[in-house]
């Protein structure tokens, strides 16, 4: 007997929750690291206010790991969780491609990139109408998931590697591509907040569209063909 098709595959579900833990630790330890030097620069170098393009606020202790300023412990957590985060994303991408889920479920097509169609999608979301026609995810979802999986999450890894002096000799072009180490550090910060913004929208839409079923489906897998996923 064939197994019933699931809305979310096993790898997707495992990765989703592992990734949540990784991002929570990386983000909160990252805010502690940010408190060590709150200026951001463009280019290769920068070390004083007159070189900076942005001074970020000091993040309060309830937002940071550990819950007091400690650069060493924050870096320990950051460097540890970078491993499951990066390897998990790699496994997820391999699974998305091998199973064809990327092509079937996440890819956007050219005819969707029209102002009218996009606007219709946005207004439907604003009216909290989550019943989107055929296909598992609507255009905006595919755009959001695609951008997070394809740009923001890998962007965190690439910019993170680029600011490591021990990694740079292996691939100096990565640092060049980003415009220098301090630019890479700025992008690391920008991508982190991009992921945080996605997290907020994602959680709000789950809460608005049947949170118990949504979260349940992401644990058990749910049944294929169900609609109304944020």
């Amino acid at each position: 007997m064939a197994r019933p098709a699931r809305k979310h595959g096993l790898i997707t579900r495992l990765w989703h929750w592992l990734n949540l833990v990784c991002i929570a630790v990386l983000f909160m330890s990252g805010l502690n690291i940010s408190n060590a030097h709150r200026l951001l620069y463009w280019g290769d170098w920068g070390f004083a206010a007159e070189h900076a393009w942005l001074e970020v606020p000091r993040f309060p202790h309830w937002m940071t790991i550990p819950d007091h300023y400690n650069l060493a412990v924050a870096r320990d957590w950051h460097n540890l969780m970078a491993w499951p985060f990066a390897l998990g994303l790699l496994v997820m991408w391999i699974a998305l491609i091998v199973t064809g889920r990327f092509w079937r479920e996440l890819r956007t097509t050219r005819k969707e990139w029209y102002y009218k169609a996009i606007w219709a999608d946005i207004t439907a979301h604003l009216k909290l109408n989550f019943d989107h026609g055929k296909g598992k995810y609507n255009f905006l979802q595919r755009l959001a998931y695609g951008a997070v999986l394809g740009i923001f999450l890998p962007g965190m890894i690439i910019t993170g590697l680029a600011i490591s002096p021990g990694f740079e000799p292996a691939a100096p072009w990565v640092v060049d591509m980003l415009g220098g180490r301090q630019s890479a550090r700025s992008f690391h910060f920008i991508f982190a907040w991009g992921i945080f913004a996605f997290f907020v929208v994602h959680v709000v839409l789950v809460l608005l569209s049947g949170p118990i079923r949504q979260v349940g489906d992401m644990i058990t897998g749910g049944k294929a063909g169900q609609r109304g996923k944020p």
Binding site: M28, A48, R75, G166
Partner: protein, 254 residues
Amino acid sequence: MTNSTGPQIKRRGLLAGMGALFLGACSKVAETKIGSGLLDAAEDWHRKAHRSLASRMALAREFEKEDISPYFRGNGTTEIDTPEYQAAMENQFADWRLEVRGMVDTPMSLSMDNIRALPQRTQITRHDCVEGWSAIGEWTGPQLSTLLEAAGVQQGANFVVFRCADSFRQGPYYESIDMVDAYHPQTIVAHLLNGEPLPVKNGAPLRMRIEKQLGYKHAKYLTAIELVASLEDIGEGQGGYWEDHHGYQWYAGI
């Protein structure tokens, strides 16, 4: 629920509670043997990954003269008020000595003239502080490998310890690296910054440059280079001032 703010407050309380639980869990995990072992292991994996991705002798990026930052920030100790150092400073460090000792065949005590007479390497590199900032400067001095070859490193020496003239808040500053970084071509004992003798805030008269690691490894006010088999009996045993007193990572390539 009739009170519309009720569930919201509950939810926020729940979120804050979960956050606190999460924070608490993190510090609990870090305190356990397995937890702290895992944190150390992750540091090790990063070092091994870095060293297997590129040749161990691969060079850190070198820059052009026009890339040099307008001045070079001093950090950590930026002045030393001991009478010995003050006297040396007044004397323009003419009598400064650098010892090479420990597990070597020929212990040496080098004068500044000896150091300047050795073959020199000049490199324009970027200095990355653990806090996040970077500065670019041109450094000149003999390669550490030249000194090690002259002294003759004995079998069984695994680490190079750098002794310094300064004490920071909790004790004397020192640092250490392994033999891979010790023989790296860009690991130099610098006595010039941008063509001038080192300013006091940047480590006068001698400092280390270890270009593939963060700034706290680049020991300043260098007085001795010591070859050892193990770091256990040095300081508190963690391999450096920041490692001993603040739990910094010994491998500072990230």
